[in-house]
Symmetry: C2
Subunit: 491 residues, 2 copies
């Protein structure tokens, strides 16, 4: 297990890339922009999926599955939607290969050309609303509360593992409602679910807000987002929930008979998080020694390393460890007992540290005599000697402390990197030095937002929900503003 | 909830299609050959996934994720593999759309043509073995035991919901081993996992065996399969496990240093089951009244229907039902208490019967007085009055009985439709009358197998494992044969 990778301060971007690869989370594949998610990385994604899936079901949603292909013509139905996605679509044009005339390999069979090209879904609003049309006749058929776990493809020119890949995994919720209020409520509910998940599972504090019109989802009336701050002072959008109004219902002619027996268009939402969350997770907590994982999402929560010279010593240690492992597992803790004799304890210590295992327990012959174990926590790298008595509960408490500590550390980092700025030069100076969230006044126009982006690469991340009204002048145009919004450079 | 669909004896094929649609399992989509899996159908698939996933992990496998796209050239590397899949490949040729010159909709941007076309994976051996090459250096890196849950695309000309669709969901295991024996053992282990799952979860008896060379997976040295018999006397292959030899290691140059420090090719297996299992599930147990689901895979295991006229009556009933529901849920049973006043009890009875809910509990004012409930089981349609005392355990026992009964019924059906046939005319007669599994002698040649298929549409389903040797004459050619194999017409 080699650790030759740069520190965060040397090269944050390289630190991230190297860490993702060396910690066996993911790697680039032979297909441009597509990644291979390796077992250790995928195990974290499974924990994310499982927690979110339960939250979706607890809020009344069911899973379903819609086709990966979307007929090209579907895209044109919603004008801003097609504009948003047309430039990054993988297009299927043929359905057969044949032997190459030169006998070497295969070529596309030109006689097997599709009448209408199919798009590999970049998101599924169009195919889903085409389907909902047949499912919805009356108010009795509403609401429809469906989620889909799926892969999607967006042809990105610059890709980075997890953060921006051509293919990624995600979930996309698509709901249909009889009233505007109910749809808005749904979009807000799911934003809250995402925020709850980010904070309580990923230990990442997030700011909930709405996007400016320029940053809205293609086809949305309102886009809600949760925004997190990474250790390098750049923002990362960690989840979005869209109130789609009647846009897709109109595009796909989805109407229902209301209680008064009148036909109305159906109201819609969609919401999603993706494997991008894996990038947020790595960048929020990890350090120059490797990954740091919050206990609730760590595939291995406790690693137990025996220190022994002889088989007899190992047997004595195992006699203590095996019941301890079982006791922890009974409490729902995932434990790895690494009794391999092919690797030295020191090697194992570095390995589990590098892989971000929250708690490491070391036990040697002396511990056996004294009824103790050494417990190391990954977040602070502190070690402590624990009596074996009631060790399960001590470990559970420690995992809980680590989860909270990671959240608090990330929150402190964010607070220390949040700035109220009222002056344009200061705005640029902060961006170029520490970065972070900049709370500044904005005149509310897309024109100003675009100019700020051109000059500084900073964008409006969110207009926080429940933002206090505050009279001021736009940081850029000097025009009147009624509230501060959050600017940052972003992933 | 309409039930206007044909009986099995009237039109088995139509009965199946109608049932899948009317029971809200799946429907056809706007994309040719691709299905929409609806929430009720997907909930069954989730139960299948969850049970299998645990079995894979218990046998040492981890999940990972590989790209959906495969470079076209990868296919040509393994000769029989490309031959098997080239004719049914969806091909991505472009990565961008643009506004149509006539201003109506979008067209493919011809300037965004890929240098090398990408295939939407029909199966992932090629991309995975290209990846494994970088993961495997020495025997210490082996075995690799990975599974992937994914969607795949095979351009089928004739499609049927679940049984044969252009896109389907599946899992594909891909393992790498240092010895031939270990790989063969793995392929057999996974066949046993599939058989165990089919019999103990799906309540479908299966025959384990190997495929004849003509029916082998494209690229395999040996294909193992589990084969089930449907109610109409046709066979359905419910899962396959392949010993791939060194074929993919050679095609992708994957070698390892063995303990003697010599380079060797790596041995491989792959194994998969798909949403096709949903079709097998429907066809194995359902009847002319609708779906019949084995309790272990039913999304709703118990439906409770109150019979009431007044709000007061409903309140009294709910007072009993709510604790009962909780008590059952604590035991892991999924319960739906349907207290809607918008539908009559009779409507609800038909609904749950049609949807295959294993147990229905009815409770009315009289039951409240007498401390009883009426319990109806879906498999036999029998009803019985139970005292409320210890009702949870009675229900659990009943679910267990239903699970076993479904298996036994399916086994009886198979036994009654298994025939030992030694005469060619009889062979054809059986196929055209009852169908079923025909145990017959075969001379072992692909030529004979193909002629039998041409004349009768019957294929060799499996050569059963542990087949007793038996001298005989080939049913078709009259040449000597050492064992019987199983012929059938198949899905």
């Amino acid at each position: 297990m080699a650790k030759d990778f740069p520190t965060r301060s040397e090269n944050y971007s390289q630190w991230y890339n190297d860490l993702v690869i060396k910690a066996d989370l993911a790697e680039s594949s032979a297909v441009r922009g597509c990644m291979v998610i390796k077992p250790y990385g995928y195990a974290i994604w499974e924990k994310i999926q499982s927690a979110l899936d339960k939250m979706f079901k607890d809020t009344g949603h069911s899973n379903a599955y819609f086709p990966i292909f979307i007929p090209k013509s579907f895209f044109s139905r919603e004008a801003s939607h097609v504009e948003g996605f047309a430039k990054e679509c993988a297009v299927v044009t043929h359905y057969r290969l044949k032997a190459s005339p030169d006998g070497k390999g295969v070529v596309v069979d030109e006689t097997a050309r599709l009448d209408e090209e199919l798009i590999v879904r970049p998101t599924s609003e169009t195919i889903i609303w085409d389907t909902y049309r047949n499912w919805i006749k009356s108010y009795r058929d509403l609401p429809i509360l469906i989620n889909q776990w799926a892969n999607v493809v967006r042809w990105e020119m610059r890709t980075r593992l997890f953060l921006r890949t051509t293919e990624f995994l995600w979930q996309e919720g698509h709901t249909a409602h009889s009233t505007r209020d109910e749809a808005v409520h749904e979009a807000e509910t799911m934003l809250n679910v995402y925020a709850d998940f980010a904070e309580n599972w990923m230990a990442i504090p997030v700011i909930k807000g709405t996007k400016s019109p320029a940053e809205r989802f293609a086809g949305a009336v309102e886009t809600y987002a949760i925004e997190a701050l990474m250790q390098d002072g750049k923002a990362l959008q960690a989840g979005t929930s869209h109130f789609l109004g009647e846009n897709f219902a109109k595009a796909f002619d989805v109407k229902f008979l209301n209680r008064e027996n009148q036909l109305e268009y159906v109201w819609a939402t969609s919401w999603g998080v993706s494997t991008r969350l894996m990038g947020a997770l790595v960048m929020s907590h990890s350090d120059d020694n490797g990954l740091v994982l919050p206990p609730k999402l760590a595939p291995i929560q406790v690693a137990i390393v025996p220190v022994f010279k002889t088989k007899e010593q190992l047997d004595l240690i195992s006699e203590k460890v095996i019941p301890l492992k079982k006791a922890l597992e009974l409490k729902g803790i995932s434990v790895k007992y690494d009794d391999r004799d092919t690797h030295k304890p020191g090697w194992k210590f570095s390995e589990y540290e590098f892989k971000g295992v929250p708690v490491r327990i070391t036990i040697g012959p002396r511990d056996i005599e004294q009824g103790t174990v050494e417990v190391a926590r990954r977040d602070t790298l502190e070690k402590e000697v624990f009596q074996m008595t009631d060790i399960e509960n001590k470990v559970i408490n420690l995992l809980d402390q680590i989860q909270k500590n990671l959240y608090n550390k990330a929150l402190d980092m964010r607070e220390n990197n949040s700035h109220r700025v009222d002056d344009w030069e200061e705005f640029k100076r902060v961006l170029d030095s520490t970065g972070g969230f900049i709370y500044a006044h904005w005149d509310g126009t897309t024109e100003t937002e675009e100019k700020i982006k051109e000059e500084t690469k900073a964008t409006i991340r969110v207009i926080p929900l429940d933002n206090p009204p505050e009279a001021g002048k736009c940081i850029y145009s000097g025009k009147p503003s009624s509230q501060r919004v959050i600017f940052a450079r972003a992933y």
